[in-house]
Subunit: 230 residues, 2 copies
DNA sequence: CGCCGCTTAGGTGTATACAGGTTGACAGAG
DNA sequence: CTCTGTCAACCTGTATACACCTAAGCGGCG
């Protein structure tokens, strides 16, 4: 979901963008590796780009810091966190458990809209196989995430679902570059299975499908980290 | 753990207090119902008390807002959240699950220090029965929480453990006033069972004890909410 | 030629001034 | 007496000025 206004870093002061939109946009850039780990974000620079002052931009960056996506260093700048393998394993283990809880903690009923949305999504995933468009892949992943998010009735769980998704998503996003075929096939299978679960109206099944594919992804990432070092 | 410096709201500008300490102090006040739900916190006032300017105080209040303890309202003030029963039920259900995970996600080994700490705690709990000191009770509860927290190896889980504890703790803290005897007896039983689990070196058991007593507490709170209205 | 120390540029952290929004009190009309 | 409209006080949100910290570059010394 691109912003309608600034986005590009032209010289103009840029029209003022709402607080929440700025937050989502920066989070999106981090997830998409537009800002890869180690990137130095400067409050002033970003503030100028979005047409606000440093104060609200600081607010946003601190929020991202709280979620673990960036880290503010005095006298240096705000740095996009490089993913510490140990800490990251913690998060993945937690996500597995959270996925199992999706269908347990007062899930919302499956609506026809969910099914058609995933059907539509599946069609686009199948088109993706040949194009090798990383961004498009990420957008679709994103989309699936938000559809499933809708099924979570427990508000607290829903927040965590979001938070941790964005925290680890950029990890496997890098892998897409190297093993495109494998990732795409797996993603297509994931969407298919989610669709099957939705048609059965079984939210618990949806959660368990997620759990499994999170585990598969985790395996791949751990393997890559061990091979390629940190 | 009271602060050494300001604490009281005297007229003096107050010595400057470190960022983290201020955060913990305000969180403590909310948990202890020094700031009961609905309390209006004013940035400027708090800033003056702790001897800092509004800017870092805002940072702190926003962090508390992110954790759900307060809510900032433009033109009004920062209000300590009143606990919405539905949202609160969500959190409790989540805590049950998290407790079950304590012993599953790479727990830390039980150290002799943990056992002696809980033994010491238990002795003090037993002294508590006659005194009817609500604050002391809360401090002890707090202490147990932090000891168990130490056993959680998964960093992400540990953070959540903290966060949700402070979010619901003030709910049952109110109950202590009305049904002191029952609460104290239950707490003593809880500490005893935790101690037994620790002596067995079984962190998973510790988690499950927690799970059960969280459930008991939840029951009581829900009953109270239904009886006494919101 | 290499290493150490200083200096300086630029960043975040903090303080303060200003703009926008909300609430409550007060005055006046019905 | 009650209701309503206006206004003023006050609080958060935002913008800007200043202080402190960090790191990198450069120059001098061994």
């Amino acid at each position: 979901m691109p912003l309608d206004q600034p986005q590009t870093s032209t010289g103009r002061p840029a029209k003022r963008v709402p607080f929440e939109a700025i937050y989502e946009e920066i989070r999106r850039r981090i997830g998409l590796l537009d800002y890869p780990p180690g990137t130095l974000l400067r409050e002033g620079e970003l503030a100028a780009e979005f047409g606000v002052s440093r104060t609200p931009m600081r607010e946003i960056l601190h929020r991202l810091a709280f979620e673990g996506l960036v880290e503010a260093k005095n006298g240096v700048g705000t740095i996009v966190t490089s993913v510490d393998p140990a800490h990251y394993k913690d998060i993945y283990e937690l996500r597995l458990k959270l996925a199992e809880m999706v269908g347990e903690l007062s899930p919302r009923p499956v609506a026809p809209g969910h099914i058609t949305a995933v059907e539509d999504l599946l069609a686009r995933v199948r088109q993706l196989g040949v194009r090798r468009d990383h961004r498009a892949y990420w957008e679709l992943n994103h989309e699936l995430h938000f559809i499933i998010r809708e099924l979570i009735g427990n508000e607290a769980l829903r927040r965590l679902w979001d938070q941790y998704y964005f925290q680890v998503t950029r990890l496997w996003f890098r892998q897409v570059e190297t093993i495109w075929q494998e990732v795409i096939e797996e993603f297509e299978a994931e969407v298919s299975e989610v669709l099957r679960a939705l048609k059965a109206g079984d939210v618990r099944a949806v959660g368990l499908v997620q759990r499994n594919f999170i585990a598969f992804g985790m395996r791949r990432v751990i393997r890559a980290l061990e091979d390629g070092g940190a």
